[in-house]
Symmetry: D2
Amino acid sequence: MTAPERRYVITFGCPDRTGIIARISGFLAEHGGWIVEAAYHTDPDTGWFFTRQVVRADSLPFDAAELRARFGEVAADLSAESSWQVSDTGERRRAVVLVSKAGHCLYDLLGRVASGELDVDIAAVIGNHESLADITRAHGIPFHHVPFPTGGKEAAFEEVRKLVDEHDPHAVVLARFMQILPADLCRDWAGRAINIHHSFLPSFIGAKPYHQAHTRGVKLVGATCHYVTADLDAGPIIDQDVIRVDHGDSVEDMVRKGRDIEKVTLARGLRWHLENRVLVHGNRTVVF
Amino acid sequence: MTAPERRYVITFGCPDRTGIIARISGFLAEHGGWIVEAAYHTDPDTGWFFTRQVVRADSLPFDAAELRARFGEVAADLSAESSWQVSDTGERRRAVVLVSKAGHCLYDLLGRVASGELDVDIAAVIGNHESLADITRAHGIPFHHVPFPTGGKEAAFEEVRKLVDEHDPHAVVLARFMQILPADLCRDWAGRAINIHHSFLPSFIGAKPYHQAHTRGVKLVGATCHYVTADLDAGPIIDQDVIRVDHGDSVEDMVRKGRDIEKVTLARGLRWHLENRVLVHGNRTVVF
Amino acid sequence: MTAPERRYVITFGCPDRTGIIARISGFLAEHGGWIVEAAYHTDPDTGWFFTRQVVRADSLPFDAAELRARFGEVAADLSAESSWQVSDTGERRRAVVLVSKAGHCLYDLLGRVASGELDVDIAAVIGNHESLADITRAHGIPFHHVPFPTGGKEAAFEEVRKLVDEHDPHAVVLARFMQILPADLCRDWAGRAINIHHSFLPSFIGAKPYHQAHTRGVKLVGATCHYVTADLDAGPIIDQDVIRVDHGDSVEDMVRKGRDIEKVTLARGLRWHLENRVLVHGNRTVVF
Amino acid sequence: MTAPERRYVITFGCPDRTGIIARISGFLAEHGGWIVEAAYHTDPDTGWFFTRQVVRADSLPFDAAELRARFGEVAADLSAESSWQVSDTGERRRAVVLVSKAGHCLYDLLGRVASGELDVDIAAVIGNHESLADITRAHGIPFHHVPFPTGGKEAAFEEVRKLVDEHDPHAVVLARFMQILPADLCRDWAGRAINIHHSFLPSFIGAKPYHQAHTRGVKLVGATCHYVTADLDAGPIIDQDVIRVDHGDSVEDMVRKGRDIEKVTLARGLRWHLENRVLVHGNRTVVF
């Protein structure tokens, strides 16, 4: 695989009105911007307009900082306020992964990164148990063990915050982390903290969703990748998937089958997030 | 298509122990019974054993009534009590369908019956509106209009009960009926009243599930076919399915996409029920 | 349901270059055009650009004919040649359906039209057998029986052509028609004749695909909705779907399960076609 | 997780007739055998009967060897000839994995084994390139590099054979191995060599299936797990799956999306094989 050419990705939201697309594409065309991907969405309920535009970096006569400065005027004209962003694919993405004992999501992410499929640097893995230290280090990635003793969770989370923030990551991935983030971390990592919940939300919020699913006798189990908010398992959903189960499946079988969709759904949601494809709108997402 | 050969279907449940399969299959073999389909399940949580056996009628030297009498002794030996049944595919299945205004499930069922795919007599369709009368009658099926005025629901349900019970149907199908069955009908039609709910239960119980789904921002919408119990949308699930939606889908789009899985899931659940493939076990089902 | 507001739908393709979006959206903005839906695609292999734009009719100061005239200049500037179209949702869509004996797709289409889900007038149904005449007429739609005797197929197809062409339909739907269209009809109905093939193409081209699938022992069976071309089952694919089967499924079971996806895939492909969402590009489609 | 209790798994096929189930279950019951799982299938086309029975080892008064000897008499009575097997879950399963450069399937298998999900010893990994040596060894598994130079393939395959056969593995897994097994290895490893092909067979046999899929413009791409036979990509299919693609997906996107189903489909097929759930019947499989 050759490296993909450098691109600037504009994501943008503003109140809908006539002429937005003309304004944005006119601005880009004026400077020779070659659009290689463009997507639009209007939410009729809220009257809000969204777009994501991908421009070849070499087609513009200026760099990302200058694009940001100039596009800022367009955004101001369209009352976008802070709902826009210009990102540069030339800037390498960084993620920190939080884990507990269950390794399937971490193994999967490491494999995707190692095989070049997921284009991100995993700056660190932090675990409240040590069981995943060896595999992490075998991939050349630092592993930090932060125990979460009863009565010591607050201090533990401060330690986690410090370890995460020193990398200023584009994504904080809760890969079956099993600890509930305190409200201040939810706030400070808003739009960057991504969780995989092992149920088809809003079914089976909270603990032991596969047990809940087995008791209810459902015929499909699911997984949900979502942004973390202070409201448990209720943040904006990025992606979901399901897999068929039947009466012959024990809770353990459901856990095993569910893992396959947890892994895929988390990896897909993380990829979209890192490619700036996910725009949060209230408690919902637009995924371009 | 030639008519399928006549068969007896034994469904059976009892406390698990050694030798059950040997006892049942020994009984059948002794009389020359040719088993064309056999399925087993043991529930390790409850220690209960289930089976469904399909025997060619012409391989046995007696009729269904005699099979029932003789098999009753086997069932008694195995402490099955009332948890068993012998049904005869030579006896034509009957269903009554309850509808409101939304026609997609009824159209679908009528089409399946007319094209010979679903092997059942629809004895009558009962609607609380008249909008589906014409299409029902075009298929040569009686349509009864039973209005549900405010304050008159109790009487209306008595009328529905009368109209249903005169056919002694194998299935009472709530094809988007939109009225909540009173507890006495739930009880009297237990194991025969089948509902299609337009969500992936237990998500979005009750009214307007697609609106609830849209508000929550889910990425899949679902449908659930289940037996009706007095506990709203909480009866044993027969089948479920989902379909992908995205941010571009309005509530109306979700409704439209959801219909396709409602139709298929209801038809599949009803078929399984009519073929005696569904065994209820507590609030869960075994589907052979 | 209230009628959706009137809209103009522009579909457009041209060689890719800088400024296309700006040109088109600039043109629309200049006249106050309110874009309610917009989609773009660039094919890197062929260097071709595609877009579909939906504009509120009441936002423009002129009608569809005038829009067509004025947009023609934009199209010419961008070297689109004949690869563009302006359609008006105020003009009702018409379809003619060709059938044989199998009714499941026809029943499904009739039900969708009757329940208001599929917004099209079925002008006529033409069958080479009479078995589906009654249900068609029960829906108030003319049914024409055109027998296809050995040695008389050419004349029969001329009759079919005459019956179809008098309605000048937006779509000619081969709903399990089972006769191979002659080359001249494929040419004259190019981009309008839509077939549902009962396999996941390119697997199992031609006759008896479910038998072929059963013999090969596949674990999924499929359906393919595609435009008809002179090359059998090889036209541009609009949509495909699959359903799981297993060793217990006979050919007849596969046929039955497959019908559910044939119906849905055909209805979905037809809807997209009627909404001008499908742009043909060589032997592939862009589906916006 | 506690170790699952030891079990004997009987797989069995014979010409169908009355009394087979009674004979087998009678034999087991006679010795106190506690059946925890049982499945049956009759193929009406070939008149062949299949079963898989799982018995708790501690419920029988003898060991696997004795069970094999005694059950042999039952099998002989029923004319099963060599179509039966008794396996012992107490005997650990061994697999050898063959790879090339693409690592996604190997990473996935290693992760599943390491996390305890897939209960098998990977005795060795053999690669015709060295790129996957490090990750293999990081999991404590020997990696053998066997180059396949032009003109030296025959010798290379002899080396592979030697390296594989010394472990007498239950499964030889071609995890995107990319070399076509010679006929003699197909024969000697019949029923044990498992391949993952990156298409929905029989579509796109042979090289570069994603390129073929892209050219044809399909709307789903697939993966097929099958036993290897001398006939390329035509062996008995164990499992298949698909994932949706659209016009926006390049060949590289299809490759990436396809990997997710390749991994899952291979892992599922391998699990079923190792649990003796897959019975080959002609060129098809029965998967219990």
